[in-house]
Symmetry: C2
Amino acid sequence: MTHIPIFVIAAAMVVGAGGATTFSAAGADDESSPIFGIKIPPGYRDWRLISVAHEEGMLNDLRAILGNDVAIAAYRERKLPFPDGAIIARLAWSYDPLEESSKAFGHPQSFVAGLPKNGVQFMVKDSKKYASTGGWGFAQFDDGKPAGEAVQNACFACHQVAKSRDFVFTRYAP
Amino acid sequence: MTHIPIFVIAAAMVVGAGGATTFSAAGADDESSPIFGIKIPPGYRDWRLISVAHEEGMLNDLRAILGNDVAIAAYRERKLPFPDGAIIARLAWSYDPLEESSKAFGHPQSFVAGLPKNGVQFMVKDSKKYASTGGWGFAQFDDGKPAGEAVQNACFACHQVAKSRDFVFTRYAP
């Protein structure tokens, strides 16, 4: 019988049980976004957490920012600019008062994520392919479908404000 | 030469590069909490996202709820009660206006996670060990150290409101 080191078998079991490559909560949408030609990365809902945020006003959502392994490693090693292959995902949901909490406190106290809202956005680092936009490609998908050109074009203009952090707004939440 | 299937080698590389078992952003704190005897689970900062929330009032934080593989699988399969081995983690950070955003909008618009706040909390499912509290052990750690008995004792009383969801407030964010 061939002997395989225990740690290799254990590692394979870990990945088989819950690895990002084998379990995707997102659909298998396969349509590329305009301008930057980005597809929804498979398994992104399984990526690790970078940080969380709340947007007021028109957006009025709760959001989570997740990163693939390259992005998470860069954040933790405080590596700027982000290396090629880094992908940052922004998910968002409606901003809903939690019913049980409102009842207990007599007023809204806890706000939780409801249904998906404001699409899902990605920043994809490829310093050659996206050289004219700081090395980042930007994409937004609404209900799994890429948004139109006007939406995709708006991303970089706004992200230039964060140029000193390689155009990324989100800081890692320790 | 011994041949090891490619998928096993690939799996080992994936885990080596970013696996939850090999990279822990949390400290190696090893002190058990009072009452329930819970230690900080290694690598919990790498767990997958269940949902996000904002607490107003005294708490005034942004929070993320993460789950280990058992908890995430139970959520996605809508399995209630949660099986033994499920662990849910609640992280929280200060609720800070994002400076760049406030400047651009002329008023606070984006609120982001700042420094850790209000401790880290865990719910650990063990239907035998914690039979008297719905099968859940509860623990809070402040700066890596278990909080006192009064804090730990307060958890279950409040979570009884969510008895129909196996005492868990947080719903999975799709």
